[in-house]
Every structure is written in C-alpha cells, then in structure tokens.
Subunit: 253 residues, 4 copies
C-alpha cells in the first residue's frame, strides 16, 4: 500500500472512530445488516440477479465487506468476504465479484465513504445513453444536486466488455466519481456511495425514483422543467432511516 493509500486509511480510521461513540456493532451484526441491504436492494428492484453492495469495516478502514459472487437476493451472512483495499480477500471464501474493484478503489480514494452500491439501475441507464444530466426533482433526491457524472469506460480503456474488472478501471471510475454521491456508468448502470449502509441503499433507490420523475416531467414539458435550487438541494439532507425500516418490513420471510 502506497503512502497516499496509507494516509487515506488512517484518515478513514480516525473518522470511523469519531463516529463510533456508541459501542461498535459486532461483526455478526454488521453482516446481518449487510445481508438485509442486499435483500432490500433486490426486493425493491434496485438490483436484479446482478449488482452488489459493500460496507467498509468500521474496525479497520483498510478492509471492506462484500458478498462472494452471487445474486443479492440470495446472500447470507456466510457469504460475506472481507477484502483489503486492493480487493484481495482477507478472510472468507468463494469466488469474488469480478467488479469488486469498484468498491476497493472507491474506498481508497474516498475516506469519507463507508458503503458502496453498484447496480444496473434501469431508470438511470437511459439518462447516460441520452446524455441528459440528472437533476434533483424532489427533496428525497437532494444529493443529485451535488452532480452525477457519467463514467464512459471507453474513454478510460477503449473497447472493453464493459466491466470494471481491474484496479485500473476501478481507479478510473473513482476519478470520474470524484467527491460526488453517485456516478452513472454508460451502457452499464451506476455506482452510489454514502457514509452509511442504510443511506447508500436509500440513495441507490431514490436515484432511480428521481430519474423516473425527471423523465416524466420532461415528457410533460421538453424545456423549462423546474428542479430543486442548488441551495435547496444542499439543505434538504435526508437520513432515510424511515425508508430502511419500511423496506425491511417488506422483505419476504
């Protein structure tokens, strides 16, 4: 690990400690919550058989938790693997997602990020294809006001199979993401980041809802659709905790 990565990790660990005033959750509790995140994303249609969600280890900012390769709806605690930030497995077993570098490279570049979702989010793919910037249509999509750039893998690596399956591609995606809460991936889907697992699930969900609202508004009026003012968007921060409880209650037993 280079100096930059070390600094990032130390900063992230410090941030993590600060926010851990209450007793840290056990690893089992973390895994249980990560399993619920997987199942919510599938049950609410944010992911289908593909897509993944990860969580930075609160006890070690140089590690993150991610299920081994499999459909999110079917993930159990036994499937969770711990990876280092180069996306090599540190504990756990099983073939990993080919695109786990999305997670590792973003955790390296963004010490403020605690959780990452990658999805083939259907509502946003048309926006990348049509090159129409997403805008915050209501307070639940407030974070879109920070900007949602589009990652075109062709600009980074020419003709590919579209997958972010190497550290270099993960780094290129992280660069496009910058300090933003989400990035679209042209011809592929999106990546969403946040400082908590519950919030990243909600942002991935509302990124899609907001895209539908924008498409519908643009259908009613091609030009002149009103979105949140940038300052409104900054103020309209959501915790989404009520969404998490709602979605959890809707999971099939």
């Amino acid at each position: 690990m280079g100096i930059r990565a070390t600094v990032v990790a130390v900063l992230a660990a410090a941030a993590s400690l600060q926010s851990q005033a209450p007793a840290a959750p056990t690893r089992q509790a973390l895994f249980d919550d990560l399993v619920i995140a997987n199942r919510i994303l599938a049950n609410e249609g944010v992911v289908d058989g593909y897509g993944h969600v990860s969580l930075r280890n609160p006890a070690n900012a140089n590690r993150y938790f991610l299920a081994r390769a499999g459909a999110p709806a079917l993930v159990t605690a036994a499937d969770i693997v711990e990876y280092d930030l180069d996306s090599n497995p540190a504990s756990g077993s099983g073939a990993g997602y080919m695109e786990r570098f999305i997670h590792g490279e973003i955790y390296k570049a963004r010490p403020d990020v605690t959780a990452v979702v990658h999805c083939h989010c259907l509502d946003v793919i048309p926006f990348a294809a049509a090159n129409v910037p997403l805008r915050p249509m209501y307070h639940m999509g407030y974070f879109i006001g920070e900007g949602v750039p589009v990652f075109d893998i062709r600009a980074a690596a020419g003709i590919t199979d579209m997958l972010v399956s190497t550290p270099a591609l993960g780094q290129a995606l992280a660069r496009t993401l910058g300090r933003r809460p989400a990035a679209l991936m042209r011809g592929h889907g999106a990546v969403v980041v946040a400082d908590s697992l519950h919030v990243v699930v909600a942002k991935a969900y509302y990124l899609n809802v907001n895209a539908r609202l924008q498409a519908q508004a643009m259908q009613l009026r091609a030009n002149g659709v009103t979105s949140l003012d940038p300052e409104e968007a900054k103020k309209a921060v959501q915790t989404y905790e009520r969404s998490w409880e709602f979605w959890k209650s809707r999971l099939p037993r």
Copy 2:
C-alpha cells in the same frame, strides 16, 4: 388560540355534531381506522417510508390524531398521538412528524376538513415541476375540477430544506390550498384534504391515477386533450366507499 381559530373550532364542532347522528365511534375504533388508512396508503403506493395521514377528533374539533414519526406501513394504534391545532401533543407520546404543521394549520383554516394526507406522490411531482395544471380526466378524479394549486415553498420562505416544519409554513401552505381539495408541493409532493378519512385516502390515490391518465393522454396528443367539463366534474361526486373495502381486503395480514 386567537378569536379566528376559536370561531373555526366552534364551526367545525357544530359541523361535526350535525354529521354525528349515529352513535359516535369509540376512540379505539377511530384509531383502528386511522391505522388502516396508513397501511392502505403504503400498500397502494401512495406513500413509501414517508408521508402521513391525520384525522380530526370528532369529539373535539380542536384536536387531531396523527401517528408519531414513523413509516406509515408500520403504524399501530399505540403510535397515535392527539395534537391540538397548534400541533402540540395533547396525549400520546413519541417524537412527532416534523411536518405535522401541515395538518394543524389546515384544520385551523378549514373547518370543513376532517382528514388530511401528505404524500410524496410520485405521479404528481412531475406536474408541479413542469408547471402543467392537473385536470379531471375521469369521474374518479372529479374533485380535480375544483382546481389543484401548486405551493412553492420558495415563494413563502426563500431557500429552505423543502419541509413544512413550522406553523408559518403550514399557514402558507393552507393559504395556497384555499378551499381546494388538494395542492401540489413543488419539489416535494402533495397535500390532500376531505371531509372523511375514507375519502381523503381515496382522493390521494385517485389524484395519482388521474395524473397518470393525463400524462398518457398528453403523450398521445400534445394539445386538445379532453377532460371533464367543469359542470360534469361538479356532478360526478364519489364516496369511494367501495375502494376502501377493496383496498382493506388487499392489506397484508
């Protein structure tokens, strides 16, 4: 409570007495119905993890019932709080919805109103964003013929977090609503009012359905869509009682 509010409360109490020829329902029966209203709104997709529905106390027009803060799908009778019209809790416990002033201020301004829904109704948000007035597309959306104004919180209070979280903002929303059955809230959702709990749930539901119909008709023909004649809309009053029975039967056990 000022003179105006007192007058309003007395008038509302009188109206309430008139309509109470049959034995008044017990508080438990009222709470049970309010719980069902919460669950129907969630189950039919009018609200998600956010949104709320309240009922004026039929035994005291200066009070209203509203769940404490939580996802509507998870509300139980134990969560119902009684508020005065300034939205201070009169009985019950737990943190209240930050936006309960929507309810209290409308009850003050509208003695004819017995129930209020606030939702982030997805189908109507694009209409506020595109500044396209809703029109009554079929008899089930007849009340839209009375007009559905758009509340822009920026006109009332400049840059905000979009939430109607103070008495002043609630009053501004009530002024925009005027005598109408509903108002859209730009970048946020809608508020719907009625003279019964069952009807307010149905009007919130059909406000959305009607918006979808209008968007689809406008897609087929940009100009020249026919909606109900204003006089037709006045005549096509619905009780929606059959909808309530249907929706109730569809609730998960």
Copy 3:
C-alpha cells in the same frame, strides 16, 4: 317488454339453445364462474374497487346475472342477483349497481352477446381523451379491428354525473356500441361484450394491453405505426382459454 325486445329475447334464447349441446351447467356452476370472472378482473388490474361483469342466463335469455353493488374482488356467489332485461331484480337481494342498465340494455340490443364487462380501464381512458382510435397491435387484440367507438355521454344527455344510470343512457351506449366488441366511454372507462364469460374477461384485459402497445409504438414513431391489416384481424380470432386458466391459477386463495 315491447315487441322488439321480445323478438330479441326469442332470438337470443334460440341462439343459446343451439350452443347448448352439452348438458347445461348448473346455476351454482354459473355463479362460481361469474365469481371467478370478478376476481380475475380485479387481480389482473382491469377493475379496481369499481367495475362489473355480467352473464346472460343461458336458461333464460331474458335474464342476466350480476353481483349486487360491491367491489369485484369481494364478490361471492351469494351476491349474485338475477335481473330482467329492464334491469329489475328477478331474484337475489341487495342494492344493485347504479349502472346495471349498461348490461340490460346491451343484452336487449345484442342477442349475440352473452357477457358484458364495464371497467374504468386505465389504459384506454387516455385514448378517448385524446381522440385517438384504438387499432389492433397484435393478434391478441384482433377484435379491435372491428372498431372501438367512443361513447360521449354529453352527446346523449348533456351535463351528467358521467354515470350510465338510466335505461335511456344504457340504450344510448348500446347504440354507440352497435355491432362492435367494445366501446370506450369518454371520461369514464369502457364496455366490452362477448359471446362467453371467459372471452369477455380476456377481451377486457387485452383491450388494455393493446392500448399500452399502441401508445408505446406511437411514442417511438408519431406517424406510420403498423397495426394488423383488417383482414389479418378478422382471421386472428382467439378463444383465450389458456389465459383464463392462467389467471385463475394466479388468484389469491
């Protein structure tokens, strides 16, 4: 009953006898099938809390069966009422649907019709509002090739509450329907007729599906959408029996 109605009834009875080579189903079996038709229409979203489906009595062409007023999803065999063609109850009890004249007057005018659906079918209302004729987009919507006229109640009776709640309005609707398989009702919904209960349910269902297909095709290409050739539509007759079995299997227990 006038001479014309008598003639119609006799012809219908004759047609009914011809098609009854196998042992006639018992009244209980007929009622059970009519209950299933109600529940399928609700479960597949053709009707919501409102709408109705009726069946001509195969043993007496001057009578038809229709549930008493209530949500279709909740209809049981005990709710079925037998009506004469003037829509007066002949047996059974309970308040009738205000719009039962839709059924009675169509049975009078159309001896070939054995079953009638009235729905607030959401996908077709925009077509009536936009005055865009429905066209048969695929073989499952073949019957649309016979034409689907639009009934505008205002042309028949001026300003109304939009409901077909009198014999005269039912007759006006039947005149607009003519020999066609369905008619849209402006600002209201649709009526669909067929020579069997299973087929009328399927035609109501596919009338909606076909409308969605047409709207989507018109969105892709404003002019020049290809629908079935009129002669193709005539040949592509469906029994839809496989749909009935599928929908029946999907009913909640």
Copy 4:
C-alpha cells in the same frame, strides 16, 4: 428427413457431445429444468397465458422437448412431449402447440441452437410496429448487437391468422432469424434462441428490458442515443447464471 437436415442433426449431435464432458443429465432432470424455465418466464412476465419454451434433446439432436399446449405457468414434467424436427410427437401425449413449428424448423436450421423461446413479449412489439431497430443499450442486452431482424408473416404468406402454424411458416421465420439470437414477429411477438436453456430464458427477459431502456432513452432524446459499440457488444458476453438462480428463488411454491 432430407440430406440437409441429416447433416444438421449430425453436426448438432457432435456439438452436443463435445459440450457433455460431465455426466449427461437424466431425462427427469432435463424435464424439471424445462418446467422451471416455463414457470420463470411466466413469473417474470415474459410470457402470459401464451408462449412456449423448448429444449433440444442433448441425447438426440433430432429431437426436442416442448410442453403440450397449455399456459406456461401451469406446465409440469408430465406435460413434456418429445418431438422430432418435423414437429411430430415422438413420445408423450396431448395436443401440441399449433406453433411448435417455430421450434422444429429453427432446430433444423440452426445446429448451434439448444433452446428456443416464443413469446408475445410486450416491450418489443411496439418496436416492430414502429419499425425501429433494437440496439444494445447495456451489457445485459449485448446479444442485440448481433442484430434483431423483424419477421413479417405477410411477406412470407400474405394474409394469415398471424400464427406460425405450418412447417413452411416456421422455415420462413428461421430464414429471417438467420444466425441471429432473436427475431421480432410483426403484430405478434418474438422468438429467441440460445445454446442453453438458462441463457435463452435470460435473453428473452433482457430483450424486453433492453427494449424498455431504448424507448426511455429515445423519449429523452429523439436522436443521438448512445448504445453499445458493436465491438463492446461482442465482448460483453453474459452467462446470466446468476439471473437464473435469482428468478428460480422467486417462483411461487
């Protein structure tokens, strides 16, 4: 069977043997998988009461398995019939699908094909009606990059009932399909082929999803929508195995 068909069958048998390094599945296991394929297609909305999926017999490339006529959701292993490539039953009983020639004639013409789906896929019918070519919008629809031609039955046979109900019509469809992974059928639906049962189910599913994405992108921007580069599409091959596991887990018990 003519010489050409014999050659095709021998080649297919050879290909089949090569890919059968592991012990061949029992006939019961094949039937169980084919039943699951039927049920997934119905449960995920790719087929409704109509449509079918077949599998070439891995032990005899001149035979294929297809359920007898019935709704896909209700198919059981007892319903599977074995057909020769002229679509005559070789074992099993019951009336066959009138359009089984779609399957037989494609197996004859395409020794590389192991499984075939025919559906009235709603999302693609508008594309054939509007004559808008499908394009690969994301990696999950990569195969669309090979081209999806439109079969117009009128060009092959004039006015018909739209059904591919003869060997000659099946051959005409197979000619239009050529070496492609799928073909739309104007005013009818689509046919999808693949070298495995799991993949053909997934390609039928994603053909529809991709069509929705393309329609939505074209709504945002009438011209200039970006789809996968042809070389990207070639590289982005999917096994979709994770989708199969996900869809299987969602089947009603």
